[in-house]
Amino acid sequence: MSSRLAACLAALLLIAACATAKPTSAPPASGRSRDLVVLLPDEHGKTGAILVSGAGGERLLTKPREAVEVAGDAPPGDPFSMPEREVIALVGPALKALPKPPAQFILYFRHNSAELTDASRAQLPSVYRTIRERAPVDISVVGHTDTVGERQYNHRLSLQRARAVAALLAAKGVEPSILDVTSHGKDNPLIPTGDQVPEPRNRRVEVTVR
């Protein structure tokens, strides 16, 4: 018996601007110090939601470019829609400085082995290239297994897989101190299955290049 949870997030982007600038579309607010928070869609156009709390009140923002002002001595004001050009005028430099999300690679392994599949071995050059292009970087190497076998055994196997990939990266000159090597055993399958189910897509190491 297993229960599983597939979570799908509409990623969100938020900005807290401790307001020196005064957005013209904002409703008038009293008080000296006003902070402004605006919710933005991510690069795929998805918008999440944020809850903004101030003295004695809170506002839920759910729409693209929905904004709210908060003064120190009052509940948050009414949410309002902020024109894109005002968003840019207010927080353009911060948005421009927001890094690209990390690059992620999934490398697959043979059954019950710390040996890469041929297809994944062929993918290694593009991993090296990405590391070089993005350098300096911070890298996570996380090993996984399918659900066949005991939990503890799989934890060891997934760690061997992660270490095998880390060794390949180190052999290509990647500084070991920027490699964070961990293992999740069979606890974090990419493809949810019941226990004791062979699934090649779960025999993997995920390499995240930040």
């Binding site: 018996m1 297993s2 229960s3 599983r4 949870l5 597939a6 979570a7 799908c8 997030l9 509409a10 990623a11 969100l12 982007l13 938020l14 900005i15 807290a16 601007a17 401790c18 000296r32 110090s33 006003r34 902070d35 928070v37 933005l40 991510d42 999440g48 939601a49 944020i50 809850l51 903004v52 709390s53 101030g54 839920l60 759910t62 908060v70 948050p76 207010l90 927080v91 353009g92 430099p93 911060a94 948005l95 421009k96 400085a97 927001l98 890094p99 690209k100 999300p101 990390p102 350098a135 300096p136 970087v137 911070d138 996570s140 964070d180 961990t182 999740h184 974090n188 995240t208 930040r210």
Partner: protein
């Protein structure tokens, strides 16, 4: 308006390839991806420049000058950035999904920031919080699809 005090960068001549000058407790929580102009990190009351590649630790204060900006990626794959004349503290960051320990607390005291949520926002949105001097911001509205095997 709060008068922001810009922390002087005392080690401006230091090569970034040199080891971080101060021993940091705990684990790396992220890395600076880009910075322009004056951009610094304050750790254990000491400020040093923060070029691309600088490792981040919980408790670090990130600051930019009037011509500065900085962008970083945290270990949960979230991204965070500061505009000019900005200061924020990554007060708390814990990303140990295997142990179910996920936490993020950012306090911004001046300027502008932007943030794109990562895995903490996905797995434990209620564990992420942002504070300004007058407001607190939480992540909500994660969409879930749940399927329970019989």
């Amino acid at each position: 308006m709060r008068r922001a005090s810009w922390i002087a960068v005392l080690l401006a001549g230091l090569s970034w390839a040199a080891p971080v000058p101060f021993a940091a407790a705990g684990e790396t929580i992220g890395i600076v991806r880009n910075s322009t102009g004056k951009a610094s990190i304050t750790r254990d009351s000491q400020a040093f420049p923060a070029p691309a590649g600088t490792k981040l630790f919980a408790g670090d204060t990130l600051s930019t000058g009037p011509d500065g900006s900085m962008g970083a990626i945290l270990r949960d794959n979230s991204t965070i950035s500061l505009g000019p004349s900005s200061t924020l503290v990554i007060g708390d960051f814990l990303f140990a999904p295997a142990e179910g320990k996920l936490r993020l607390l950012v306090r911004i005291s001046r300027g502008t920031m932007s943030y794109l949520s990562g895995l903490i926002g996905k797995f434990a949105p209620e564990s992420a919080r942002f504070e300004t001097p007058v407001a607190s911001i939480g992540i909500r509205g994660t969409r879930f699809a749940v399927k329970v095997d019989e």
